[in-house]
């Protein structure tokens, strides 16, 4: 197993954000991490990456805690909520310090900028970027280490249809090359055609885990399956 989360809990004060969550993520496929707003997706991913400390349980990458990885960015590339560059810094400089911190060659910075279509805007300060450009920069940062595992929190937020299609195809290709992709979303429909597997979380607990087909079987649409599982009408 590439990613193994077991019995994971996270409380912030009195608020239980994640409650005894267990699931695994396998290589060679795209796994969707689904749940309505506030379900605990971002919290789970933060704990997985060592940014927040678990109240209980473990979250391991190939059997190790993230912080014990020898080359973190070559093993895992991550795009996280609330993890942005300093707005005054130029995009190319943002990627440069990340690359230096993990001994990633400088030319790779331009490769990933090219990959996400930001080469021409690379020398602009990030504060001039649109929402979608910022998202592309985050994806570029995740790809810097050419990692075996991608962990992406709502990667298509703010992207235009063209960008969404690109991310979708890119992730399918990535998984097809035998690598591991875990991506979160609060929109079931987004997962159709992207994810092979799904882990569904609601109010901090896992409510379904399996192939996307199995999870949606017996429901007229992806959307109704989602609402049935999460007990949410329309999210509010």
């Amino acid at each position: 197993m590439m990613i193994e989360v077991s019995g994971l809990s996270k409380r912030y004060g009195a608020k239980v954000a994640v409650d005894n969550v267990s699931f695994t993520v396998r290589p060679g496929r795209v796994t969707g991490f689904l749940g309505p707003n506030g379900a605990g997706k971002s919290t789970t991913l933060r704990v997985l990456l060592g940014l927040d400390h678990p109240t209980g349980g473990t979250a391991l990458i190939e059997g190790k805690r993230y912080r014990d990885l020898r080359h973190p960015l070559r093993k895992v590339g991550a795009l996280l909520e609330g993890a942005g560059p300093v707005p005054e810094r130029r995009a190319v400089d943002h990627l440069t310090w990340i690359a230096q911190s993990n001994r990633i060659p400088r030319r790779r910075v331009w490769e990933v900028l090219d990959l996400v279509g930001l080469s021409d805007a690379a020398r602009q300060p990030v504060k001039k970027y649109s929402l979608g450009m910022g998202q592309r920069l985050g994806i570029a940062a995740a790809l810097l280490g050419d990692p075996e595992i991608l962990v992406l929190d709502e990667p298509v937020n703010g992207l235009d249809p063209d960008g969404i299609r690109w991310v979708r195809n890119f992730l399918r290709g990535y998984a097809a090359s035998g690598r591991t992709v875990l991506l979160s979303s609060h929109l079931m429909a987004e997962m159709a055609g992207t994810a092979d597997e799904a882990v569904v979380i609601s109010r901090g607990r896992i409510v379904a885990h399996g192939s996307l087909d199995a999870i949606t079987a017996g429901h007229p649409s992806l959307e109704t399956a989602f609402f049935a599982l999460t007990g949410d009408r329309a999210g509010w």
């Binding site: 912030y12 004060g13 919290t43 933060r46 990456l49 060592g50 940014l51 927040d52 400390h53 993230y66 912080r67 990885l69 020898r70 080359h71 973190p72 960015l73 070559r74 895992v76 991550a78 996280l80 609330g82 993890a83 942005g84 560059p85 300093v86 707005p87 005054e88 810094r89 130029r90 400089d93 440069t96 310090w97 990340i98 230096q100 911190s101 993990n102 001994r103 990633i104 060659p105 790779r108 490769e111 090219d114 990959l115 996400v116 279509g117 940062a141 280490g145 050419d146 690109w166 195809n169 890119f170 290709g173 990535y174 090359s177």
Partner: protein
């Protein structure tokens, strides 16, 4: 945008070393426009004050009549409060837009992350203090008509000033990590000499002279008043203690704190 890259684009380039992390931190400092603005402001302010102190063309109204600028320690040290924005931004800019989460996914070992940032910020503070301080110091002491300064005392005065810039900078650095912002440390450290010392200096001199600013002035042999004076060595020890407490607490907190919540 193209399809997935052919594999093997990245070879294993060996163990990540502390110097790699320091390189990354130096790049962060160097590519922040605020760094260069602040250094320019410090240089100009120091040079102007050095000129005014040396020529004594301007005097400031004081309680016992006009006071020479060369006697006004607080004013002469004022540029340090621009300068410390360099280490304060190095630490505090991690928090505004959430860069810290990027930093800690790149460098998940919190101790190594903090050490690299501390070393890079200290190194930059010392190196940047030289050009920021030297012209003003030379103007004030070499050009001074009073001829009070031998070469030895000019050099030792200069080194003490660089040391002072580093130590006050480290107080700001630790403070910024603790406060998770650049604003609070700059505001508080500026308010101490401007408001707190004048208001409380007469009532509680024993406490006020231990504040970072007053202790620094004692170390630099220009205390605000005899009542607020410490010996030079004591002054140095007191500012150093402030720096150690702030940096040490910041290290401890950073090692344990979640990136979300308070």
């Amino acid at each position: 945008m193209t399809a997935v890259e052919a594999d093997g684009g990245l070879r294993d380039t060996g163990e990540i070393r502390l110097t790699d992390l320091m390189h990354a931190e130096l790049t962060k400092i160097r590519t922040l426009p605020a760094t260069w603005i602040v250094l320019a402001v410090t240089l100009v302010a120091n040079t102007a004050l050095g000129f005014l102190a040396a020529t004594d063309v301007v005097r400031v109204a004081g309680q016992g009549g006009p006071v020479a600028i060369a006697q006004l320690g607080t004013l002469l040290l004022a540029p340090v409060y621009a300068f410390i924005a360099v280490p304060v931004f190095a630490a505090g800019s991690e928090y505004g837009g959430g860069q810290l989460r990027v930093s800690l996914t790149a460098v998940p070992n919190r101790h190594r992350f903090f050490l690299a940032k501390l070393l890079a910020s200290s190194g930059v503070a010392v190196l940047a203090a030289v050009p920021a301080v030297l012209p003003g110091h030379l103007v004030q002491h070499v050009a001074a008509p009073r001829g009070d300064s031998g070469v030895g005392s000019v050099i030792s005065g200069f080194l003490a000033l660089v040391m002072a810039y580093l130590l006050v900078g480290l107080v700001g650095f630790g403070f910024a990590v603790l406060a998770k912002t650049v604003v609070t440390p700059l505001a508080v450290l500026f308010i101490l000499p401007v408001l707190v010392s004048p208001m409380l200096g007469g009532i509680l001199p024993g406490v006020v002279r231990l504040l970072p600013h007053e202790a620094t002035l004692s170390f630099l042999a220009m205390p605000t008043s005899p009542a607020l004076a410490l010996g030079g060595a004591t002054g140095l020890a007191v500012v150093t203690a402030w720096a150690v407490v702030f940096v040490g607490t910041a290290w401890w907190v950073n090692a344990r704190r979640d990136t979300s919540g308070s």
